[in-house]
Symmetry: C2
Subunit: 273 residues, 2 copies
Amino acid sequence: MPTADVSLNLATVRKQWAMPEAVAAAARHGFAGIAPWREMVTEAGLATAARLFRDSGLRVTGYCRGGLFPAADAAGRQAAIDDNKRMIDEAAAIGAECIVVIGGGLPAGSRDLAAARTMFADGLAAVLPHARAAKVLLALEPMHPMYAADRGCISTLAEMNDLCDALGDGLGVAIDTYHVWWDPNLAREIARAGPRIVAHHICDWLVPTRHLLTDRGMMGDGVIDFPGIRRMIEAAGYRGIQEVEIFSEAWWARPGDEVLGVAMERFRTVCGA
Amino acid sequence: MPTADVSLNLATVRKQWAMPEAVAAAARHGFAGIAPWREMVTEAGLATAARLFRDSGLRVTGYCRGGLFPAADAAGRQAAIDDNKRMIDEAAAIGAECIVVIGGGLPAGSRDLAAARTMFADGLAAVLPHARAAKVLLALEPMHPMYAADRGCISTLAEMNDLCDALGDGLGVAIDTYHVWWDPNLAREIARAGPRIVAHHICDWLVPTRHLLTDRGMMGDGVIDFPGIRRMIEAAGYRGIQEVEIFSEAWWARPGDEVLGVAMERFRTVCGA
């Protein structure tokens, strides 16, 4: 039975286990939910994945990851819109509580970040009716500015809040400590997000950080003030589940059960749970 | 004779040449200025460095780098203040047009970024009278958020503009494309900085970036829109010198004359000079 209000993003143990084993391990370690990635669901097959999640008794706290709308031409942008619509249908089929949506990078050859941001907003507007009809929430996740070029052209919670203001119902925000901890406007923008907060991801920033993508830290091993950010989020009204999401060659090299044991212990002792 | 309105930050060729050779090479390649680092000046000796720069006929567009005020205790913070005052005297002695000032990282063991930012503001206020008396301008440089933990706790131009507003005369801002290019508020904050802009550093963001500190790019090799940022800066009233500052193992491994030749050519063809 789940014993803690914490979910496991399956990327955290993606090199140790295939999805069925990872889901079983999450349940065994007391996680109350899991968040799968699309390639895992595709590999397992949608119906099989849906049954696996349902039978596990775990919540599906997020489905990773949509958005990524910028593209070099209109056909590419339409393809991204169509793909996001399919992903929305998949999210509904697996009972995911939200799709995690990121900005996407600059189109190949482009140096126009403002244009990429506009493409993101336009793509979001284009898929939102489909998401509303499917009752699938889109959780907009700002990414650390070091990913602005190649993964997430939307870097701040302020920008995602602006998009929620502009586009209305069916949108929320996903706050990942790793992406936002440095933001001087974090407290203000978390308060502003208020009831739009639908996901709270936890991951630490290591000093030094040796790789931009795959040297993220276990909670407590870095410099992020988890209780401080949690208090901001709780003050804004969110008291829901937190999701452990760590991309780390170091942790991928360790036994999955060890990783989940440490993650659960750190969640309790470091994150103020 | 200098032929282009571009300066060379000597860190760009720090592994190829000692300071005297680097200064001579800058002059030979047509740079109109240089920006030395403090350890270079210390190694050469202050009087020797001052004479070297004067005899070169080049401008000293910046002295790197001050600030770094956060420290774990009051003695550490006072030591940083005292050290910055000495650096101000050195800057006056070498005829530097400004000191480049960065936030500094979190004190050892700290996870309190807000406190570090306050320490930075307090340290700045403490040294500012000394800088004014010496007529040395302090150029506040926001650093990319990926350095917030260990180098620069002030990440945005907005924060540096706020400090200029709060503390008054004697302060300016240094805008380095590498640090600020991702900022969704960049145009607004450059316009706000206006006459406070005292330095414009150029360096590209590579995709992929393989190392957080030493994989910066030559202008044109990455994704930064140099003409776009230059237009913002010119619209704000700054039409002064641009300074090439590239930390790169790849460029450090190439002959210094090749690096300066390429930098000068890219300045002309990429940066809209």
